[in-house]
Subunit: 601 residues, 2 copies
């Protein structure tokens, strides 16, 4: 077979990536990418995942990178294959996940001349990658070997620098596409001979600067932490410490990695029911915007999931708001930030802990804590009561077809207790993440709670969860997802079959876009079908096609039993909860209403 000797460069490139700690490579089969595919496949340092659908492959890589906190390689051939990466690249950009996106291409001379499977891949991902580069076509020029090595280092460094994110390399290859065997390549640049490394320092203030910044916080009594989605599990410890020392309530988004933390942590300052509290319009007007109004809000992470929290923040005009972010991209769609501290959040909190003095609890903080516990209690009771009422009502009415009375929010109440420590809980967008916010209370049990909140798409969630599971070594992975989102990425399930990846999927099936029933569009009867879109799909057969186990769940007893069993047995298991869109809206409103009345100021 004809070998292309110029392709020795791919071995240099791949060896450099291995030296820099890259371990996972997700390849979608194709011809033009042959040189890199072969180089990765023949290098013992990589775990190669072969994934047919590029859209799913890219989300799988995203989940793997979220879990492993290392850059993951994506590799595909030229043409629309590369275009299929865009959704996950967008998500990675906004959720700051390091991806190394390699697209093979025709050489320059075959662009814009009508060559087969040739599109315009240069800057294909636009502003949604941090860096994009085109390699020279391998042609035997000696400099291309050290150049490739340097580009490998540069790509990894770029992807890992704050803000982490995706980078793109477009690599043109001329035929023939078979690279030489690595053993036949006499290159001083291939591994061991010239080992390589990258060390990336994080931004931190000097002692003097820190003291000035600490003074700002120390001087203020009514301070509130608000932590949105973020993946760093090291944030919890220093943040909880400083909150305890200064008695600062932390409004902790469900994806902040602050709701399910180590056994030993003191969670009393974690406010997990702010979403329910801030739905209480009268309470907000009478208290949270007047005598309990904060003087300083300190924000970390992405914008929180909760819409009512966003609305509350927007009303805090005149309140100093501090945004802490390690990049110039702090997330502030309500334009509230008055102070921006560009620094690594974990290093900052650790340093502040060393210098801030302990202080007494203010009435402000005590109130937040008390109300939070009160509404958490109320909510638990209200859910039981309302499910009971519904059951009574429907059995009284002897409805011919008894609708499912499972309250979607209860799933998360149950999960907080059912899931073992070190579970990775992946949560779909639209309703699941909102229910997670409202109903998954804080718990002393470490978990990694993930979602695609960069662009909040519903399109690649199955694959992301499978990727997260593939990179997860010390616990189960559980996905909660709605039926539209599950449908969107059914193709992702092939990876579970191919690689026997463990994943328990809790499929909340209400036959349509349930979230629309909560929106104003639901009032427009004539056009509402264009939003809710019932599809009538029964997923059992397709789950079976991917060798998954399917269970339909119609009561919480069975749910608990099947969850325990699923986690114990592993594999792909889908527990489907059929719910009713209209009743679900009604139950949500009743739960919030009941607790609103109990808390009336």
């Amino acid at each position: 077979m004809t070998v292309n000797p110029h392709l020795e460069v791919v071995h240099v490139f791949v060896a450099a990536l291995e030296q820099l700690g890259v371990r996972h490579v997700c390849i979608s089969p194709g011809s033009r990418s042959t040189p890199l595919t072969i180089a990765f496949a023949r290098h013992p340092g990589f775990k190669v995942w072969t994934l047919l659908d590029e859209r799913s492959a890219a989300y799988f890589a995203l989940g793997l990178a979220q879990q492993t906190r290392q850059p993951v390689v994506l590799l595909c051939t030229s043409g629309t294959a590369a275009a299929n990466y865009l959704p996950a690249v967008v998500e990675a950009r906004f959720s700051r996940v390091p991806l190394l996106v390699f697209t093979a291409d025709r050489p320059k001379e075959l662009r814009a001349v009508g060559a087969n499977q040739t599109i315009d891949q240069v800057n294909l991902y636009g502003s949604h990658v941090k860096w994009s580069l085109e390699m020279p076509t391998p042609d035997g020029t000696a400099e291309l070997l050290p150049h490739a090595r340097q580009m490998a280092v540069r790509l990894v460094t770029n992807a890992l620098s704050a803000p982490q994110g995706p980078v793109h390399l477009n690599w043109p290859f001329r035929e023939p596409l078979l690279p030489p065997q690595k053993r036949d390549v006499e290159s001083e640049f291939i591994e061991h001979v010239l080992p390589m490394s990258v060390a990336i320092a994080r931004k931190q203030f000097t002692e003097l600067e820190l003291q000035n910044l600490a003074d700002i916080i120390n001087r203020i009594e009514r301070v509130l932490f608000i932590v949105g989605p973020q993946f760093d599990q090291n944030l919890a410890e220093p943040l909880l410490q400083i909150a305890l020392k200064l008695k600062i309530p932390i409004l902790a988004d469900p994806l902040s990695q602050l709701r399910a933390v180590a056994q030993t942590s003191d969670l009393q300052y974690i406010i997990d029911h702010y979403d329910s509290l801030l739905r209480h319009q009268e309470l907000v007007e009478a208290k949270f915007l007047t005598q309990w109004k904060p003087e300083l809000v300190i924000r970390l992470g992405q914008m929180p999931v909760s819409k009512v929290l966003g609305a509350y923040l927007a009303k805090l005009r005149g309140v100093r708001q501090l945004a802490i972010d390690d990049a110039s991209e702090w997330r502030d769609p309500i334009f509230g930030a008055t102070d921006v501290w560009q620094t690594d959040p974990v290093l900052l909190l650790q340093a502040l802990n060393r210098i801030v003095p302990e202080r007494e609890e203010s009435l402000f903080a005590a109130n937040w804590r008390a109300l939070n516990e009160q509404i958490a209690d109320c909510q638990r009771k209200a859910i039981d009561a309302i499910e009971g009422q519904m059951r009574d009502q429907f059995s009284r009415e002897q409805t011919f077809a008894m609708p499912s009375l499972l309250f979607e929010g209860r799933i998360f109440l149950e999960l907080a207790h059912l899931l073992p420590p070190h579970t990775t809980l992946y949560v779909g967008n639209s309703m699941p993440v909102r229910d997670l916010d409202s109903f998954f209370g804080k718990i002393n049990k470490p978990m990694f709670i993930l979602g695609n909140r960069g662009a909040s798409g519903i399109d690649g969630v199955v694959s992301s969860a499978l990727g997260a599971s593939a990179g997860h070594t010390n616990g189960p992975t559980v996905l909660v997802i709605g039926d539209i989102s599950f449908f969107h990425d059914l193709n992702g399930l092939l990876a579970a079959k191919q690689y026997r990846i463990d994943l328990t999927v809790i499929l909340v099936h209400n036959d349509g876009g349930g979230i629309f029933s909560f929106l104003p569009q639901a009032t427009q009867d004539d056009v509402f079908p264009y939003f809710e879109t019932p599809h009538g799909l029964e997923f059992q057969s397709v789950i079976t096609m991917y060798q998954g186990v399917y269970k339909q769940i119609s009561d919480w007893e069975t749910f608990r039993r099947e969850m325990t069993r699923s986690i114990a047995e592993g594999g792909l298991r889908v527990l489907e909860l059929r719910t009713n869109r209209e009743l679900n809206v009604l139950m949500h409103r009743k739960v919030f209403q009941t607790c609103r009345e109990e808390l009336l100021p």
Copy 2:
């Protein structure tokens, strides 16, 4: 419910599109796109298709536009939804299909500040749309009404001008998202009051210019037409006429709309077996590159599918090559074009027909015709013989598990005869389109033969075929597709269920990327699994989920019977042919080898 009065502008925009002849709108549900969704849904002039997966939706719109030759609207919400359109947009750009891509967006003030579901949608499709524009956020400014009307006209004009293609409009909307009822809008710009129209002239030469150009062709004896993929069914008539008059052989790609044409057409100059002929290395060297070498090659359409034809063209150095295209984007990856005529091909051929004189047939043309008939005959016989030999051999060897001996190429030999007139035949990339090229001979029966040859992706073929069927009013639609490509777009099948679209799918299932078995990668045993990727999927259950009928086909008798039945009964029907990758390669080689020997120069 709160209505946003500024949103009256969407009614002006939508009314203008209707006046300009736009009829089909493909909407993927979402919240931010509510104003346009409601305006389209409430306007009686549109057929609205609600399609959940944006990637499939975009390919569905592409197929619809290929079939109807009219611009089709795509509408989605903000975020990764818009990113999912990219693959089909790329395909539309290179295959010149008019699409109007509308992406709803957050208003400008919510960009780059971490707002939910907000990405960078401005120029999201880069160079893969012909034109991209962002609308002003509707804010009640009076000029925005005539502006929206003008932008509608501009978009349609752009999409329909040569080269046709996709255009993109990003439309920011502020909440509230409910538009006023059209009847409540007192706008002089909404329909009827100010009717609108667009007329687009095509490029054509003056009589004087034409005469000069005609002289070039007249003076040359050995002329060859080469027509690649193109969608204009009006090309056949003038091209066949001029070929008959000047005795010019036409090497007609299977997607050139020249292989299955009207009953009355004289097809003697259509060369449909050039791919098999030009595989005959000795014949090429001894004849086609010497005494039968053309003096002028006239090329129309995209680059043909056949690789051997491409290789032959590349060897025609020193031969004048004329590229006719209505845009500056003539397709010439072999850099052979010496003369470029930028004009509408159909108008040119019609005009030339009027002025070129009839002439005698050259030996050159007679040879092409004779050899073409000879190899067509031989091929038919060889396929029968080889299938028979294989059957004998395997039954002699009493193999425990008799592999499928169906020869994939035979599908197209059968289809040419089985399909009724006015069938739309959609053909998947990778192997099906190559087998179509080799084995679907010319026939006097009008059909529309389509594929995604712009970027030759395998990712959206099911949806494209369903879109083509949805726009097809006077005949059946049949899709031939491989298993990897079918898997890639399984989600597309939902449209068939939702809208009861008729489609017969011939699924060629050889459990993997069959084309790789023909490539050099197949010689690299250790890494070949990274290319062939068997997935072991049994599609029956998922077809049933989408309410399709599944049939497994194991002999040609059954194939013929089930094809006839499927076309008669309609609905979604999948005929699966299990084939064997290795045997298939072997049989292909034997067929070509047999006829090569018979034709030895």
